[in-house]
């Protein structure tokens, strides 16, 4: 086992896992065009899941806060973006790509701003009293989840809401027999940008270290001269903003959203964060891509197993690496 792991690390480690999976799938699927379609779609789906999971991973991994309310931010982000897009129907309907993108940009900004504000509120009012108490975190955030879901129901009603999409994100590129949805390509790019931004802030600054240290021993970080409370608020706000942005992006993908959207995505998001390994954004990306690919391949090869594919993937990975693929803390 040790030796196997060592060899693995030398050739690139667990990062190559998606590649291996894709290769196996290629052999099993046979038809290259189907394989290509599935792979590209899976990668993009992975990125979309990553967008929704990144905030959770940040908060869960760095601050050790299990935020079940995360899904509420995802839903709220979706609804806010959808509402803004609906207001700007005119811009969206126009043929100018510029106006289209402007509308999209404003919608996303609204979701993000909202996420920041909600994160601030959530941290100061709800989370602060329960740091370092997992159980109460689960419970209090669950309470918050109920409240927010009900608030969404009260504001937007229970009927599904349709989300207008800018024209230039509709349809698909067709390359030979391979289709690539434009919206997925857009989500992929967005995910990549978020990933790079997170990666650099966490690895090129002391921020990541500070937060991890603060989780372990808050008092001591303060004794070293850092205002951990402000830092935690900041991280939490960032996490919520990411969630809201993920929600906005998902709303555009789904085109028809209900208040339970966040809750429905939650399990998959948790799975991704866990198989990725606690606390590492890299791990979350890896986990998300694995989930995206595997569910597509399994859905094509053995539809019967599609439902359980995420669970099975999680079990296998946890049995192989009990701390996930790329845990930040060993």
């Amino acid at each position: 086992m040790n030796q196997m792991n060592a060899t693995l690390t030398r050739v690139g480690g667990v990062n190559l896992l998606p590649l291996a999976v894709a290769l196996v799938a290629f052999v099993l699927i046979g038809a290259p065009s189907s394989w290509m379609t599935l792979t590209v779609a899976g990668l993009a789906m992975g990125m979309m899941i990553f967008l929704m999971a990144s905030g959770l991973s940040l908060v869960f991994g760095l601050m050790d806060v299990l935020n079940f309310g995360h899904s509420a931010f995802v839903s709220l982000g979706a609804f806010i973006a959808a509402t803004v897009l609906a207001w700007m129907g005119g811009w969206l309907g126009s043929d100018s790509v510029l106006l289209n993108s402007a509308a999209l940009f404003i919608a996303f900004t609204a979701a993000i701003l909202f996420g920041l504000a909600a994160g601030w509120f959530f941290e100061t009012v709800i989370i602060k009293p329960v740091y370092s108490d997992h159980l109460r975190q689960i419970l209090i955030t669950m309470g918050a989840l109920i409240v927010v879901e009900q608030a969404i129901l009260a504001i937007w009603g229970g009927t599904p809401m349709s989300v207008p999409r800018p024209h230039f994100l509709e349809g698909a590129f067709l390359i030979g027999d391979v289709t690539i949805e434009v919206y997925r390509a857009f989500a992929f790019l967005l995910g990549l940008i978020v990933y790079l931004a997170l990666y650099f802030t966490l690895n090129r600054t002391r921020l990541g270290l500070l937060i991890r240290a603060g989780v372990e021993n808050r008092e001591m970080v303060e004794a070293l001269g850092f205002r951990i409370d402000r830092l935690f608020i900041g991280v939490f706000m960032a996490g919520s903003a990411l969630a809201a942005m993920g929600g906005a992006m998902w709303a555009g993908y789904e085109t028809l959203i209900t208040p339970s959207l966040g809750a429905e995505m939650m399990i998959v998001v948790f799975i991704v964060v866990i198989i990725g390994g606690l606390g590492s954004v890299e791990g979350t990306l890896l986990g998300a891509i694995m989930v995206g690919l595997v569910s597509n391949y399994v859905g094509f090869l053995a539809p019967k197993l599609a439902l359980a594919s995420n669970m099975i993937l999680m079990m296998i990975i946890l049995l192989w690496r009990p701390n996930g693929l790329r845990p930040a803390v060993k």
Binding site: A31, S34, T37, L38, A41, G42, M45, L153, G157, G158, T159, P160, M161, S162, E170, G171, A172, L174, T179, E181, Y183, Y253, E254, T255, L256, I257, T258, P259, S260, L261, E264, S295, N296, Y297, V298, G299, F300, P303, A306, L307
Partner: protein, 375 residues
Amino acid sequence: QDPVKIGLVHGISGHAFEAFSKQAQTGFELGIEYATGGTNEIKGRPVELVIKDSQFKPDVARAVLAEAYGDDEVLLAVGATSSGVTQAMLPIAEEYEKILIVEPAVADSLTGPDSNRYVFKTSRNSSMDMQAQALALQPDENLVVATLAEDYAFGRDGIEAFKAALDGSGATVVTEEYVPQGTTDFTAVAERMFNALKDEEGRKVILIYIAGGGDAPGKIQAMDPGRYDIEISMGGHILPVLPTYKRFPGLEGAVYYYYEAFDNEINNWLVETHMERFDSPPDFFTAGGMSAALAVVAALEAAPEWDTETLIETMEGMSWDTPKGGMTFRAEDHQALQDMLHFKIKVEDDVEWAIPEKVRIIPAEEMNIPIGREN
């Protein structure tokens, strides 16, 4: 005069479907208003609605229904929105020996072997949806279909009914695909269906039968099935969902109700009144709720006595008028047989949603709805 008490048991909190329940209630109230000519009285007795919340929980639904029958002493009750919850309510009607009118839950099993003679059902059932859908495709030897449904009893039963309706028409089903409930990515299954259909001859159709969200049609459409001459077909939907149909101009299918499609006095009144009061046209469940109310009033007016046995006798085989034309309670299983709408999607820029334009009304007699039980 003592009021006539009627229980309305729907889920009005705790689930995204609560909006549907509210439509059903509005429809019911409008129905009583229409049928009593605004007097709100039947045979001189005022109608009192006792509204209960099932919270979308079967056990709660049973308790509140029992309460309505036992403590509030309603004459009969109407409900509920989700099939599972309604299933759980059926035995309570039998236990209290009072009538339960099922509206708007759809499952066939609600009038199936596990039901009982106290249950009447005004809502359509899945078999009707699927048979109408099959008829809307005008099946013949030239038709090749791939079906897509969610992998649970509701989805599988629907596809069974669909295939049964195709039987004998010469059409072929090349593949039946099932996805887990709550699926949001349909790439894999679409590839499978494309692969199954693309080398076939004839009119190639992907039939989508998915109740939940996920926007399967939109996502499959985005993968450009047109390049293989594959078209998409699906049933209609409630108004909030119809905007998404704008992506499918020309799509044909069948649906339970669309307010512009039915031309009769009741529907005209309903549309007018609804527009006036709520500034929006009535939807599926409004029409459904109204149909149930009209059935109640028709039965109470016809029945010489209001005890349960007489009511059952009166209602078995009873025909009455609704916003979507006449309905008849089939004597055997108490399912209301009704017409369905064959539509074709028309897109107009100044209408918010896509319009399911009437192709024709599929009369109840054309459909062969299996009898669930013998009462």
